[in-house]
Symmetry: C2
Subunit: 145 residues, 2 copies
DNA sequence: CGAATAAAAGATAATAATATCTTTTTATAT
DNA sequence: ATATAAAAAGATATTATTATCTTTTATTCG
């Protein structure tokens, strides 16, 4: 339902948001170590996030990634769109096959509810909310953090 | 969260359960066509289901798969165990890394609730329940079914 | 202007899930 | 005993996801 890529992106954006509040840019190496994700793959993911307007970036000395006022207000749902695209919104156990509430698969009722609940949570959570939770130590971005 | 393999297995077991009520065995070719799943791969999945005691099987002329009184009473959760194993029970966006309610990842609350709700539904649904729903045309096992 | 930093991009590889193909084994019917 | 049917099992292939490596481009600083 949710890819590992999305999980990496969620942690990455949250980490960058936390550090942006200190006026700092986060470079890829620091980010990779901070959220315990392979750096080369993370670089790819960050490109998609920048391309989709979720984060800002700059090359060169003192370069890196950061969030601005605008992106802090974005719902976490934008991260899902940047990594997994729209297909997950209607994903189901039937995969690509037609499955809906009038032609449901064996687990449709529960699965669709589950999926929609999760996606609603992402729509209702701003990136700034996630950063606040990290600062309040309510959520963690890596194991030994 | 839930694999395509599990989705195939759920439909397969349900299909076999429906046809067992007619006192029939279902062979692999019929089953593959009935639920629209690639036959060779399905054969593999069925072996695990038989090995785990979810279904019965017999080789040779008139052979195939069937459910008995015992297996009809099994919760659908047994299908999940046969296909995806135990790791999914505690799966999270952090993957294999330690994540729990005292050291939660960014989406842990929603994700764990979602996962547990889905798994509870599987625990509380018997294979016979699924077969009944197919017969009542409340759920479908393939698109043009 | 050039060196160093650091993201961006392209190419390639590894792994896991899904899928296919071939052979073996088992069971029944004649 | 043999042929046929059909599951079981092993081997292999494809696809998608995750991951790594190399090169290019952009930016800053001295």
């Amino acid at each position: 339902m949710l890819s590992k890529t999305f999980a990496y992106a969620l942690r990455a954006v949250t980490y960058v948001a936390v550090h942006s509040k200190e006026g700092k840019k986060v470079n890829l190496e620091q980010l990779s170590e901070g959220i315990d994700v392979p750096q080369p793959f993370l670089g790819k993911i960050m490109q998609d996030l920048v391309r989709q307007g979720v984060l800002k970036s700059m090359k060169g000395p003192g370069g890196g990634f950061w969030t601005d006022e605008y992106s802090l207000k974005l719902p976490a749902f934008e991260i899902l769109k940047a990594t997994d695209g729209y297909a997950v919104l209607t994903s189901c156990l039937m995969g690509k096959k037609n499955c809906n509430s009038s032609l449901p698969c064996p687990l449709h009722a529960e699965y669709a509810l589950c999926r929609d609940t999760l996606f609603d949570a992402l729509r209702n959570t701003r990136i700034s909310d996630l950063a606040q939770k990290v600062e309040a130590k309510e959520i963690f971005l890596a194991e030994d953090n």
